[in-house]
Symmetry: C2
Subunit: 167 residues, 2 copies
């Protein structure tokens, strides 16, 4: 897997990622201006980021509230003795489920769920309840959702250090 990542991301790559995470429709011209590189160079870097799987695609962001699904909740599932039930019945039966994660710990599954109202959510919980014990947390408000990925602290220290050596 690491053979695929020819090299770690440098600061220009991260700048490109930051820009494209904010606006996926930037032209190579505009991008090149913002990262202070030529258009062909940026295009080449973006191509590499796509091919190496760092950039997995480009998606429109939809506001769940404006789209009629203002209710957000986290649901922890405690699956009966090892049989995680969302493995049997696919998530396709539950369009309300936005995310599914397997956890360490007693409650083995974490779901992020969106629905149109408390009434809908109640129905969802009832349907899902057949799968095992659960614990629900209803979200009151959201400060950040899907914040753009940034270089980790360690990476920034490294590139900063490189920056000091260069000039």
């Amino acid at each position: 897997m690491n053979a695929f990542r020819s090299a770690a991301l440098d600061d220009v790559d991260w700048k490109i990622l930051a820009e494209l995470q904010r606006d996926a429709r930037l032209s190579y011209n505009e991008l090149s201006r913002r990262v202070h590189l030529s258009a062909p160079s940026v295009a080449e870097r973006v191509r590499r980021l796509e091919e190496s799987g760092v950039i997995t695609g480009y998606a429109a962001r939809v506001d769940p509230e404006r789209a009629g699904q203002p209710l957000l909740a986290f649901v922890q599932l405690r699956c009966a003795r090892g049989q995680c039930l969302l493995r049997t019945s696919g998530a396709e039966d539950y369009p309300e489920i936005a995310e599914i994660h397997k956890l360490s710990g007693e409650y083995c599954t974490m779901l992020k769920v969106r629905s149109a109202s408390l009434t809908h959510f109640e129905g969802f919980v009832e349907r899902l309840g057949e799968h095992g014990e659960m614990r629900t947390h209803i979200v009151l408000s959201t400060q950040y959702d899907d914040r753009p990925l940034e270089p980790s602290v360690l990476e920034r220290e490294v590139t900063d250090a490189e920056g000091w050596q260069r000039p």
Copy 2:
């Protein structure tokens, strides 16, 4: 707020949203083919979706693993007597935090956190630990992350019913 949403989304709108959530860079030509409408009509609908805030933007999707942050965890914070501490110190100090939600219940905050390794995560938890009691859930694997938003079950029933009346 509802005055802004001139009307609810119909099935063509949802089809457009589905396509653009899968590929934000579709041209109006290609989009018009997929939703069986003319290009100017699609462009007009997209413009309305953008103006009404249903579409909030277009973003590149970045694979956190390939970008060097394979570790994902949920952290529940129990803030000391009503003072939610992420209100005082901004989330900018914690670039690892991908999401912040206020919850009902004892643990008043749910964080989604990405970091480079367990070592980094340990450091993050120590830094955050000053803010209050917490409960961490480390993610072992992820089946779905940020699944595209779909019309709610109720909406689909309604539009299906409309579909029956039309022919």
